[in-house]
């Protein structure tokens, strides 16, 4: 495989964004066509990288490394595509491409350079997934965060600006923590290359090891803010509920970026090879913090009264589950967690789009709140005979999509949500990892049940109970986007075998950091 391919997922969105900025807002068709073309090419590129990264076993040298300027790794910058990076690239590209039909419809009105910002977001995401050193991780993080600031504030209103204000302040502070952590690690080890760090950490002298751990912990806090672990994730539901629906749907992958970095760094730097003093550093924190996040997400979800917040708390549950699963540090659990990551990202993105379709809030400040649930009231049971009108096709479509979304999010059979949750939960019982695994297992099952309750209640209130509900007009693009996202979930439940095998190999590869190091330092 040509290693120059590795630079393209970063360079292409950058060039396209620059071109779109030059074209300006007048040539909207051309700008939109460029966006679609860029996302389509990104999907192809990511597929090519994924094909290149997937091999028969974990040990073969299929991790592609691109040395920028051909400088050797410790002096120059490297981009690394192993199985996990390729997977995340493909997920990002598919999500972006699926969101475009909806986004293009929404973004036709003038309102700032939103298409270039979307491309910059893709550039930042791809760079984060590909980079092989900590400082470039910071740079790409800032690129994607700057793009999200702009996207979160697209079509500003007082509510959106106020939520965006908190979001930006929290993330600026997290970036400062990021820098402090990075510089502490640099001060102790003298390098920021991840592979070199993985080599050096077992040999760090004991008198500076505490400093290294402090740096890693501060760095971890910065990512946990992004991954929205309790108590660092209070900003998330409000920001996501305030953003426009395609933007919120794209943000579904933002918490996964934090999860990705935590997974990568905890297994590469603090895996089993890291020496007795550093191995499994911070695992317990991830496990219990993840569980606390799930609890907060469940409570918030049961209390949420508008769809945006409901989706936001679903994000918290998903990210808490993933953090807890990473904390267990077991290859089989990690493989399940990756499956859950992919499925929950797609389903939550679809749910954000549905929320935007069911409760459109164009320009209005007030979110349409759902009515309080009133089981003895008349709304639910009365007028059985009068409302026998034929169901309009858009409502049937919305209802079906909502049902599929609920099934996938709650992890009920027969859809891929169940497969992912099963892949995540089954190994937890087998490894016998003590109280932590049992607690996480129970919590995830309970969270699934509570998701069913919350989704049922919301579905009843929207589709059955509300008599005055004006059927929202559905734009074609929105329907296409939702169908694409849910269709990929369905496809993953039908052809689940190859993806699951790929994920198992990914987890195996992540747990063998020697392979990664050998690829960077041949």
């Amino acid at each position: 495989m040509n290693t120059h391919l590795l630079a393209l997922p970063i360079v292409l969105p950058l060039l396209v964004a620059a071109l779109q900025l030059l074209l300006g807002e007048r040539r909207r068709r051309l700008v939109a066509a460029l966006s679609v073309a860029s996302c389509a090419v990104l999907v192809l590129l990511a597929t090519a990288l994924l094909m290149g990264a997937s091999g028969a076993s974990a040990g073969d040298g299929l991790t592609a490394v691109y040395r920028i300027g051909d400088w050797p790794a410790r002096f120059g910058i490297v981009l690394v595509a192993d199985r996990l990076s390729a997977l995340m690239l493909l997920l990002t590209a598919v999500l972006a491409l699926a969101l475009l039909p909806c986004a293009l419809g929404r973004w036709q009105q003038p309102g700032g350079p939103v298409q270039p910002m979307f491309q910059f977001l893709l550039m930042g995401l791809n760079g984060t997934f590909l980079t092989g050193d900590l400082f470039n991780l910071f740079v790409f993080f800032e690129v994607l965060l700057a793009a999200t600031y702009g996207l979160a504030l697209h079509r500003p209103g007082a509510r959106r600006v106020s939520a965006g204000l908190h979001y930006i302040a929290v993330n600026l502070l997290a970036s400062m923590l990021f820098l402090v952590g990075v510089s502490l690690i640099f001060g102790v080890t003298g390098t920021l290359n991840m592979a070199a760090l993985a080599q050096l950490i077992p040999t760090v002298p004991d008198n500076t090891r505490a400093l290294l751990h402090a740096g890693a912990a501060i760095l971890g806090v910065a990512f946990l803010v992004k991954a929205a672990m309790w108590p660092l994730g209070f900003w998330l539901p409000r920001t996501y509920a305030a953003a426009t629906s395609p933007v919120a749907a794209m943000f579904a992958i933002m918490t996964k970026v934090g999860v990705y970095v935590l997974l990568r760094l905890s297994l590469l730097l603090f895996g089993s090879d890291a020496g007795p003093a550093s191995a499994h550093f911070g695992d317990t924190w991830l496990l219990w913090g993840g569980m606390a996040t799930v609890v907060v997400g469940v409570v918030g979800m049961l209390g949420a009264r508008d769809l945006g917040k409901l989706a936001g708390y679903n994000v918290l549950i998903s990210s808490g589950t993933l953090l807890g699963a990473i904390g267990l540090q077991h290859p089989a659990v990690t493989a399940g967690a990756l499956a859950y990551l992919v499925i929950s990202t797609l389903a939550i993105a679809a749910f954000f789009l549905l929320a935007g379709m069911l409760a459109p809030d164009d320009e209005t400040e007030v979110t349409p709140l759902l009515e309080p649930y009133d089981p003895v009231g008349e709304a639910l049971y009365a007028d059985e005979d009068e409302n026998r009108a034929t169901l309009p096709a858009p409502v049937a479509l919305l209802g079906m999509c909502f049902l599929v979304c609920a099934l996938v999010l709650a992890g009920l059979p027969p859809l891929s949500g169940f497969l992912a949750k099963f892949a995540l939960l089954a190994p937890m019982l087998e490894i016998g990892a003590g109280r932590g695994a049992i607690a996480l297992f129970t919590l995830v099952v309970v969270a699934g049940f509570c998701t069913v309750v919350a989704m049922c209640r919301t579905g009843i209130q929207i589709f059955w109970a509300d008599e005055d509900w004006a059927f929202p007009a559905i734009r074609l693009g929105e329907a296409v986007s939702v169908l694409l996202l849910l269709g990929s979930c369905l496809a993953l439940s039908i052809w689940a075998d190859a993806p699951l095998r790929y994920l198992a190999a990914t987890a195996e590869q992540l747990n063998a950091p020697a392979h990664y190091i050998r690829a960077v330092f041949p």
Binding site: F138, Y149, V161, L179, G187
Partner: protein, 112 residues
């Protein structure tokens, strides 16, 4: 010199955190700026403090007498990025001030 620098970083960071927790948006942005100064100084000194040392290698000189150039490169990037994001934050503050009519971080004054 170490003590002076450590004190400077500590005072900057402490003032920044205090300001960050204040309710006015202007105080928040000044707080963030102070914290970013503290962080930049911190990165700058992470390579070790040395007076009059050269960051660029010359042939035949003793390598232990050089300043580490990498933190200086890192801090340059960090300064640019924090400068840009602060400017962006300032725009959002102004928008919030214009839309809500006051400069409270929640968009409304606590006082009725």
């Amino acid at each position: 010199m170490e003590a002076v620098l450590a004190l400077a970083i500590g005072v900057l960071a402490a003032s920044g955190v205090w300001l960050l927790l204040r309710p006015r948006t202007f105080q928040v942005i000044i707080g963030l700026t102070l914290i970013s100064y503290a962080v930049n100084l911190f990165i700058f000194c992470i390579g070790g403090l040395r007076t009059g040392a050269d960051p660029v290698l010359r042939s035949g000189a003793d390598i232990t007498q050089y300043a580490d150039p990498l933190p200086q490169a890192l801090v340059l990037t960090a300064i640019v990025i924090s400068f840009a994001t602060t400017a962006l934050f300032l725009v959002v503050l102004l928008a919030s001030r214009g839309l809500t009519g006051n400069d409270h971080v929640d968009g409304k004054d606590g006082t009725p």
